[in-house]
Symmetry: C2
Subunit: 374 residues, 2 copies
């Protein structure tokens, strides 16, 4: 076509200033770049043991009903989750994974210039949302591979932060704080500052990791998911727990018809099969012991893990760990690693099946050898 | 617990000012209120004929892979859609239904005070998003039950709007404008104003309804979905078509891992089964003729429809139509109706199966009788 060049859309100032970066590059895209599939997929913090067979069956059944929109209020799932968590249904909002819910929660509180505090090297999708709504991110270093809650709260006071983000257990290090420390720390939160407590990995953590917090406490929003313990990352079902008034505020902005009908049916079946969850917890524990053993066979140590992955300390700096990671990828083993020093001395390996562990046991010494050669 | 009352979170000024209303009350919630299921579900503009059996099978297969996140770049689906639409993959972004994509697109362009133009009585979820980002909505009346594109564009000029929203075919009236009129109207759009062209129902519209617009034209973003023609409303798969630079901007803000893996697999299988779509188009055409016949048997007229639903003119005002709607609901028939006069003289009935039509044929005269008694 000839003619005048048409004018471009007018984006907001905020959008114009945003970088075009994405929080993560997915394994499929990495596979396309390397031109071959991975032999072991141990990098995306997925749970290879998958969901309860009853959840799979429920999703398959529901496929025939896919012509209908899902129930926008998700009453059945909220009731089941409320019973499980010992709260009321109006303490719960369902959303498109924790990623989606973090986006909504950030949107509720962040506008240009609002201060937000997180750990340097913590979950980047939270940072992505804060930047996306114009927030000012303040980062606090890890302390001994743990998120440093007193320092996070102190920083929140200094910068008058509206949100402190804490993942407990933490990703990418896999460490956790005792729930009692978090519950006690709430009283030290600055006024008007809300704790975003990301409990994505809580099903893998030791007893006592989930703090005992009253359901009507307005100072905390907890985020949970069916992606990790329940093995349904591809379904996109998360939920947030909080004070009913805070939870209702999500209804002002959320995509009310955003949930997939099969996913909701699967989540409901999954929460009703606690035996499967216990089996998965056992398999994950065993696999983490094997990752630890493989690391030790290669002279490496690991960071104690309260999640379904293990941060393996490659024994040097981030440059070296990145070389190990690249060599593993070249050999068909997909893992990821922390972004920030000194945590980036580690690579992060998800629990896997026996066949995944066999591949790792074969690949790790070769990758280390290659990395040492530079 | 006793102790001090904890302070509430600090919401943004925008969120604080937002009403707690939701765009729609879903049929499940209406069923809970009435204490019984509907006999016929003809109100949510769903496609009761459902997706291709191949799509159902693809979703069932993919249920076993649900432990993995979906490919965040959706390359396979984008390639298939690009081939289908005669564009390139980088003209396409995939999202959580048109509702989700409208949310992203509004967020790209709307900040407090930005003017936006739509038709008075058009799709409320678009309005919900505009209000949610602080935009100022300007509404133009329908003209003879059609969206009035020249008036929409004239108003956009008057208020310096950044977006004009047009659904073609329209919801809730089911009317459409010829594609050539829309293509020609682009040259009259004010500078810096983008047309949001919602083509949710395009698969049901006559040849020539989709305008011929160059894929690199930055003045339009088109929105399409697998919810209507492809019968997958509960899957939440929509896509937007536009200039590559505009499409890339969605990557700055979208939930990159927001898509359900089964849904993406189902959409891919659906787009590869054009025979099923043709069958559905035939069944919908037949059912719309039957709705028209039922209306005429009751002395009512219908608005000509280019969608999978029919606006039945109840022959009086909105008060009367609301009575008809309530009487139908009481009798187990779920339909909806336009919000605004004079379009609210109609009730909106989706195409259905023979059994749905039998229920409608039984229920409509009784509902009219009841409504006439006041």
């Amino acid at each position: 076509m000839t003619g005048p060049r048409h004018t471009a859309p007018k984006f907001t100032g905020l959008v114009t200033a945003l970088p075009a970066t994405v929080p993560f590059v997915g394994p499929e895209e990495l596979q396309r770049k390397r031109g071959a599939p991975f032999r072991a997929r141990l990098g995306a913090n997925e749970n290879v043991f998958g969901p309860s067979p009853r959840a799979v069956e429920a999703m398959r059944q529901e496929a025939a009903e896919i012509w209908k929109y899902a129930d926008a209020s998700h009453d059945d799932l909220k009731e089941a989750l409320a019973a499980d968590a010992g709260v009321a249904p109006d303490n719960i909002v369902i959303g498109e994974g924790i990623d989606g819910l973090l986006g909504y929660a950030v949107r509720l509180m962040v506008e240009p210039g609002v201060a937000v505090v997180t750990s340097d090297g913590a979950y980047p999708t939270f940072n992505y949302h804060v930047a996306g709504y114009g927030g000012a991110l303040h980062k606090v270093p890890y302390s001994d591979d743990h998120e440093d809650l007193p320092a996070l709260i102190a920083r929140a006071g200094e910068v008058s932060a509206r949100i402190v983000y804490l993942a407990n257990p933490d990703n990418p290090m896999g460490t956790c704080l005792p729930g009692a420390e978090i519950a006690a720390a709430l009283d030290t939160l600055p006024e008007g500052c809300t704790l975003f407590l990301d409990e994505a990995y809580i099903e893998f953590a030791p007893e006592g990791t989930a703090p005992d917090i009253a359901p009507d406490d307005p100072r905390v929003i907890r985020f949970r998911t069916f992606s990790k313990g329940y093995g349904m990352a591809g379904a996109r079902v998360g939920y947030a727990l909080g004070q009913p008034e805070v939870i209702r505020s999500f209804d002002k902005i959320r995509n009310h018809f955003g949930m997939n009908r099969m996913a909701v049916a699967g989540a409901l079946a999954a929460i009703r099969d606690p035996d499967w969850l216990r089996s998965v917890q056992g398999w994950v524990r065993d696999s983490k012991q094997e990752i630890t053993a493989i690391a030790q066979e290669n002279g490496l140590s690991v960071v104690p893990s309260a999640t379904n992955f293990v941060a393996v300390d490659c024994g040097a700096d981030g440059v070296f760990a990145r070389r190990v990671l690249a060599a593993l990828a070249e050999d068909g083993v997909f893992v990821r690693m922390p972004f920030v020093a000194p945590q980036d001395r580690c690579i992060r390996i998800s629990a896997g099946r026996a066949e995944d562990m066999a591949i790792l046991r074969d690949a790790l010494p070769k990758a280390l050898e290659k990395a040492r050669q530079g």
